[in-house]
Point group: C2
Chain length 382, copies 2
Amino acid sequence: MRKSNLILGAIAGIFLLAGCGRLDSSTSTTTTAKNSSSGYRTTGQTSDSEYQGVIKDGKYLTSKARGVGVDQNSDNLLNLKSFESGLTQLSKNQFSTSNYIFQEGQLLSSSTIENWLARKSKNNQDGLNPEDNGQTDANKRNPIYIQQIEEQDYMKEKNGKMSLAGITIGIGMNAKDYYQKESYGATYTTDISEDKMIAEGKIAAAKVLQRLRSTSGVSADTPILIGMFKQAPNDSLVGGSFYAYTLVKNGQVISTWNNINIKSYVFPSTSSSSVPNDNDETSFESFKKQVQNFFPNLAGVTAQGQYKNKSLQGMHVNITTQFYSETEITSFTQYLAQAAKNYLPSGIPIDITVKGSDGTVQSFLSRQAKDSSYYTHVFSSY
Amino acid sequence: MRKSNLILGAIAGIFLLAGCGRLDSSTSTTTTAKNSSSGYRTTGQTSDSEYQGVIKDGKYLTSKARGVGVDQNSDNLLNLKSFESGLTQLSKNQFSTSNYIFQEGQLLSSSTIENWLARKSKNNQDGLNPEDNGQTDANKRNPIYIQQIEEQDYMKEKNGKMSLAGITIGIGMNAKDYYQKESYGATYTTDISEDKMIAEGKIAAAKVLQRLRSTSGVSADTPILIGMFKQAPNDSLVGGSFYAYTLVKNGQVISTWNNINIKSYVFPSTSSSSVPNDNDETSFESFKKQVQNFFPNLAGVTAQGQYKNKSLQGMHVNITTQFYSETEITSFTQYLAQAAKNYLPSGIPIDITVKGSDGTVQSFLSRQAKDSSYYTHVFSSY
């Protein structure tokens, strides 16, 4: 059992950079929750590829800035999902799931992060975004470059005591800054060039690093990983993606940035957005054609795919159709398991969620990269 | 692989009578879709414990009475779910999933079933429910005894041809008949005694059997399974349950009825409804206590349990709480896998669905009867 989990973990490792926040294991609960002498426990692990989380005095130790991300991404919550799962995946490359325990950020509070994300002003010298220059014209105003910041803590346990052994900071950068000229007025957009976004991101990252190093509880040699994320537009059907990261082992200076070529796409392709690899689009279209006419009422079939360069790393397929009976859902799910196996790309993790026309999840299918067949589940009721 | 599926099938068989419509398999897609010479195909099978369904000319062969069940159960759709999954489970005992292929009912059309379910009248001699006697008083009027009827066909394949080899009929009986004295008026209830319900059900079943035997396509020796279902009240949080069945191998006469002691309950128990076994309630309460305080905002924890006599056959657990981040959902799901393993009853199939406060499914966990640990899945997005 242990061995097969190791293999699973190794295979999962290949897809770590995919930023796919899967917790998907048909294997057993491998690690039991730990108890420490200081009122800390961990959640236990269901897969070697996931971190254990920290429980304090019987409750989950939530982030000091809990909920800030929701506010910052209210126009497109997909950005929050991508940001958080991508940040965790980035972290896994530096802080292994077997040696580190995940803790929600405890250093930066809601008010700290809110001040950092606000514009710089007389009352807010900590603002990472530029001062308001009084302009409202899209090209004359100072846009908001930095949309969100999230902290994750990576802990090590020794002699029943938990201590901070690594920090990850995600910084979400705007490529488009949406703004109103007056309260409740129309929404305008300032476009930010790629170069400008990257340059502003580097400046912000340097400041964040410096502030973090001088924060109580952070030592001079605590490794700090910083991931730079490009926010997707408000109307995007996939979230944004990480474009660069740096690991600062000690000190306050960033020496090098590493590029990340990961991006999410929507299937089917449209005239304005097509996936990097035509073969994947062909596979998806074949699958869609098999599926959408299964019932007299047409099924809607879309997907999100994540690419590393031109290589597909994983897919989330969404199917919506109207059902009249449980037997229909069961038959459809079995049919999907076959169609997905026959038509969708192999060797990558794929999950398929089937919803009724009212949005209720009816069934779901999931396959890990190493598997050929799908796990299936029909949501039932007594 | 084949062998482990057989074992899985055998174990699943123990729970066939549980009426639990699970399609839950971490194993592979065992059977490939079949092609016949007459334009028929099958859906393929994801588990030995599920039927393959019939596809005709590339489309799923839907029921001739598609959608009637939704209309008949619009006041409590849980009745439809229980009715359909229970009927399929009943059928599995007579028509094995390995020898028979499931086909949605093709003999009785929507209009036929609607006429049968209506009151008998000058224009509708086929009505199985009594004539309107003009009374509106709850105890003087003739109630609607028969609420729903569903047909399932069980097929065998020989030399590339599919033929009818068994029929299952479910008849849903009212214990309470809800009615209005005037259109859009208040709702009144006629209570129907258990004895009366059973007696009226037997009369209806005999008529249905006779009519079915004389239907074109049904031979004198086609086995007909009839299952009698007691509808749950409109305000019930679980659906109704099957209380009796009969298998008529040939001819038009029912000789014996077999009782079924299966019933669904809600956890936690209330003053007016408690589960048959106190130990299960204690287990559930312990689990609930572990779970509901995990986050600062309280989680709602309820469950449906199905009993055969005093023995719990399976549980569907529903958890609702507010999340702010994907890491919270991941940690919560891992914690649940441990808590469920430690506190919920073992040796039965259990699934747990975790929803956000807006009703969106966030994650789900599932364990088959034979397993000790849970399969977990967090719904993610790119």
